[in-house]
């Protein structure tokens, strides 16, 4: 399935994506690594383009790569065309910020909040970027590798 999209993208949009400075990485899944500033444009293209029409945002998560910064990973599907893609954004450790995709997929709301809550990645433009699972006054972001659990007293 994923090869399907890869093929289609090569036909229609490959040049565009190349022009945007994206890499296409076809290891088992269609993986697009996108710089943060291009994320919204690429996402919008993926959602609205007829070939891909990624109308379903599956998942948003973040991975702490230590000194290499954070990776934010989006899982996209097209319910209509049956294709899927993974979009990855790398952000530096000291400034983990990506644009929010809530404007494209309203369902991204809680997923982004969760990633923010647990990993400390900021989603610029999110309507209500607050902690969701943890207390408002919780210090730190537990899924970061440098987070140390406080022993319970």
């Amino acid at each position: 399935m994923s090869e399907n999209l890869f093929a289609k993208l090569t036909e229609h949009q490959l040049s565009d994506l190349a022009g945007l400075g994206c890499q296409l990485d076809g290891e088992g899944a269609c993986l697009l690594t996108v710089p943060a500033e291009r994320l919204l444009a690429v996402m919008k293209m993926l959602r609205d383009d007829v070939a891909s029409s990624m109308n379903y945002l599956g998942d948003i998560t973040a991975v702490d790569r230590g000194e290499a910064g954070f990776e934010i990973i989006y899982q996209l599907f097209s319910v209509t065309r049956g294709v899927k893609a993974t979009v990855k954004v790398k952000v530096p450790k000291d400034k983990p910020e990506v644009p929010s995709v809530v404007s494209l997929w309203p369902g991204a709301d809680w997923m982004e909040r969760e990633a923010y809550d647990l990993m400390g990645v900021t989603f610029a433009g999110h309507p209500e970027l607050k902690r969701i699972l943890l207390d408002e006054d919780f210090a730190g972001h537990p899924l970061r590798k440098d987070f140390r659990m406080q022993p319970r007293e």
Binding site: V63, A108, L118, F147
Partner: protein, 364 residues
């Protein structure tokens, strides 16, 4: 009149919020202005814990996500790890897994159905559903000795082969199951009051459902044909002949009916699996120390709540570097606010019921 609106807490300690969900209702009289779900009361930090556990130690946590559909959760995680490691699962184990996952789906939907009508006041319906669910739990009990957190599906297969007489017991259950469905339909579907309570309530359009990343019965009730078992058949699901029940309106009633249909389809799959199931080993050769190669993978399965996904990052060590769970109930729960708005206080509980959240999964 300029009635002042007021806030009303529903939960976390409330008889019908499916656990420790808290909904802050803003009401005008009895009309819901806003229904803000507050989650996290059951947050255990499973994702963080997993990073410090070896892969076999991680597996029980999957059971504790959606504790009503443990088999499906474990199936998803095992398949994720197996996919990354490239392990081939024996045929018989694949069938057993499908049988268990689908039985688990039926059990989970029975809870859904029972609690939904029970919250609407039809306690007898609730009791019927729970009673029938016991039959499935008995089957699980026979297979693995547990009734809730089974730890039955393991990396490479299942922990042990089905005991003697299990298949017969399962067939017996399936034979009775048609009668159970008949009862549900008679008791619930034809009930005028229940129809009045659910029809036309909290209508969710297909576009909105997609945009909100809803999945499972919630999405399909709105008429979107998206079932991971069909869209990306994992395991051996492409060997079975089953339909995806779809709704037309997207109201609470459709969400209930879609799940009723899914129960029937699940039984259909189980029947086929029982018929096709070959003899053979139930466990692949898996190293004692599970060390998936470095890499990352996203794998998702259709569990009873919807699209359950695992995002696994391995650095080659015996412990996962990062394990993220895409919990369908968590994502679906976002819809509560917009579905409740404008309806009455009494509608909130059935609407929540049709979203079918399990807080163990929502809070992770």
């Amino acid at each position: 009149m300029r009635t002042q609106t007021y806030e009303l807490n529903m939960g976390p300690q409330h008889p019908s919020t499916h656990g420790v969900l808290r909904v802050i209702l803003e009401l005008d009289g009895e009309t819901v202005i806003r229904a803000k779900p507050v989650v996290g009361y059951l947050h255990r930090g499973i994702e963080k814990i997993c990073e410090s556990k070896s892969y076999p130690q991680v597996l029980p946590y999957a059971d504790r996500l959606d504790y009503l559909h443990s088999m499906g959760n474990a199936l998803g995680l095992c398949q994720t790890v197996e996919k990354l490691m490239g392990v081939e699962v024996p045929e018989r184990a694949e069938y057993i897994r499908v049988i268990m996952a689908e039985l688990s789906r039926i059990a989970s939907h029975q809870i859904f159905l029972g609690s939904l009508v029970g919250e609407c006041g039809a306690l007898t319906g609730f009791v019927f559903a729970i009673r029938d669910r016991e039959r499935i739990l008995d089957l699980f009990d026979m297979a693995c000795g547990a009734r809730m957190t089974f730890h039955y599906i393991r990396y490479g297969g299942v922990v042990q082969d089905l005991p003697e007489g299990w298949v017969e017991a399962c067939r017996k259950f399936l034979d009775d199951f048609d009668g159970m469905m008949e009862t549900y339909r008679n008791l619930l579907v034809g009930n005028e009051i229940l129809q009045a309570r659910l029809k036309g309530i909290a209508v969710l359009s297909a576009e909105r459902a997609l945009a909100m990343s809803a999945s499972g019965g919630v999405l399909r009730a709105s008429g979107v044909n998206y079932d991971v078992r069909k869209a990306e058949p994992y395991g051996i699901y492409n060997r079975f002949d089953f339909d995806v029940p779809l709704g037309t309106v997207g109201d609470s009633w459709d969400r209930m009916m879609v799940r009723l249909g899914e129960m029937e389809q699940a039984a259909r799959i189980v029947r086929q699996a029982l018929d096709q199931m070959p003899e053979g080993p139930v466990m692949a050769k898996v190293p004692k120390l599970i060390k998936p190669p470095p890499g990352e993978i996203y794998h998702h399965v259709e569990n009873s709540k919807g699209d359950l996904g695992y995002y696994l990052v391995s650095d080659g060590s015996p412990k996962p570097y990062r394990l993220h769970v895409r919990r369908p109930a968590f994502v679906n729960l976002q819809l509560l606010d917009e579905l409740c708005r404008g309806y009455l206080l009494a509608d909130v509980v059935p609407i929540l019921g049709t979203l079918d959240p399990v807080l163990g999964e929502v809070d992770c």
